[in-house]
């Protein structure tokens, strides 16, 4: 899939704490087509460990996850 026609969804998880970010990510990914991308920002540092763990459990792919000051930003691709 070329990056131009890739479906990207944005999600704001700022201010939310465990277990809600995982719930919202799971719901958002369900609405994406397979191969679609999710871009999200969060403030809960727990997301740094939890989103990759969720992706491993569900068979999806974290493209990038990083801290930017107080924010955690990540990109996730739906594979399943």
């Amino acid at each position: 899939m070329s990056p131009e026609n890739e479906v990207t969804m944005k999600l704001n998880l700022e201010g939310l704490l465990c277990p809600i970010p995982v719930v919202k990510v799971a719901k958002a990914v369900k609405d994406l087509p397979i191969g679609g991308m999710l871009e999200a920002t969060a403030t809960d540092p727990g997301v740094l460990a939890d989103i990759p763990a969720w992706a491993r459990t569900t068979g999806n792919e974290v493209i990038k996850i990083e801290r930017e000051g107080k924010l955690v930003k990540f990109q996730l691709r739906r594979l399943k």
Partner: protein
């Protein structure tokens, strides 16, 4: 029932707020990862799926209904409850840090398809009827049903 073999089964014995938060969070995490999640509520745990009305038929049953009144908003923390003051304080702190309140966690679990089973034996002993439970509670069951869920699950927790 599904043929899933990697779900989570939680036996919820405790009637404490902190433990209920943990139990619902785990069930939610599993359900959000596409896993089967079952919660079996027994003894003090049944409070978390009660509507909150007074219960009991006999004298002891009614006493129990007053002393151990059910309902998700009446559940206090396992430590520092101080007859409800601790619960209030905890709720304030949770609000301050934007932690999801217990009632909302339970609703999230329900929305994600977490199954809530009351224990029949606890209902008999504590004189709690099925009409005292929230509408989402499934029909009551016993140890064999709980074990059947546990055998099917990869993770079973007793909280």
């Amino acid at each position: 029932m599904e043929a899933s073999t990697d779900g989570v089964t939680i036996v919820m014995l405790s009637g404490d707020m902190d433990k209920a938060i943990a139990a619902f969070s785990i069930a939610i995490g599993a359900a959000a990862s596409g896993k089967e999640a079952n919660m079996f509520f027994t003894f003090w745990g049944v409070k978390a799926i009660q509507k909150g009305n007074l219960t009991g038929n006999s004298f002891f049953g009614k006493m129990m209904g007053i002393m151990n009144r059910g309902g998700i908003d009446r559940i206090g923390p396992s430590r520092f409850n101080f007859w409800g003051l601790g619960r209030w304080m905890f709720n304030q702190m949770m609000k301050m840090h934007k932690v999801t309140p217990l009632a909302e966690l339970r609703q999230t679990a329900i929305d994600l398809g977490v199954k809530l089973y009351p224990c029949q034996m606890s209902m008999e002993v504590m004189e709690i009827g099925k009409e005292d439970f929230i509408g989402e509670a499934l029909p009551a069951c016993g140890v064999a049903t709980m074990l059947e869920m546990a055998y099917r699950s990869k993770v079973t927790l007793f909280i």
